[in-house]
């Protein structure tokens, strides 16, 4: 998959999010910061995002998508 396609699909679900992606081919790391994740546990966040790529993950077009999903508050609390 192309990283732009991944970002576009995530953007459609989280229009306000700050999205950053690294990696190539079938193995990506997605960094996403959005208010949408407030009140959601890690599993819920990942499930929601991975569901966008269900077909690609099943077919192997996408092997792995590492997801770091945070709220703006969590992001701000990280040490620089």
């Amino acid at each position: 998959m192309h990283p732009e396609d991944i970002v576009e699909r995530v953007r459609a679900q989280h229009p306000e999010a700050v999205i950053d992606i690294a990696g190539a081919d079938c193995n990506f790391e997605l960094h996403i910061v959005s208010e949408d994740f407030a009140g959601q546990g890690l599993l819920r966040r990942q499930k929601g995002l991975l569901a966008l790529f269900k077909d690609e993950l099943q077919s192997g077009a996408l092997h792995a998508l590492t997801i770091k999903a945070k709220t703006p508050q969590e992001k701000a609390a990280e040490s620089p």
């Binding site: 890690l42 599993l43 990942q46 499930k47 991975l50």
Partner: protein, 104 residues
């Protein structure tokens, strides 16, 4: 027995199960390696299933867990997550007490 039933049986019989690619000793994927290493670092015993050696499980597990990728960690029959989540919970100190409670 259907594969999904076999999975449910495994989850009932084992408090901690890691479905992974390869084995903890010889992982066949970097993410499975990370997950197994994190679990091993806790010293708590866990069961594992090599989904590469059991393709039917690889196909059926996402139906049971509603989680599409591997590895997948289950504690007391509940999906906890993949390697990102396992590592985050190890770092935050949540993982060890959870495993200890489950393994009793």
């Amino acid at each position: 027995m259907k594969t999904t039933d076999k999975i449910r049986q495994q989850l009932q019989e084992n408090p901690v199960v890691l479905y992974m690619k390869g084995t903890p000793r010889e992982p066949r994927c970097g993410f499975s390696a990370k997950a197994a290493a994190a679990l091993q670092s806790t010293g708590v015993e866990f069961a594992y299933v090599d989904v590469l050696a059991a393709p039917a499980f690889m196909q059926a597990l996402p139906e049971v867990s509603e989680f599409p990728t591997f590895p997948q960690l289950f504690i007391n029959g509940e999906i906890i997550g993949g390697s990102d989540i396992i590592e985050a919970m190890l770092a935050s100190g949540e993982l060890l007490p959870m495993l200890k409670r489950a393994a009793g």
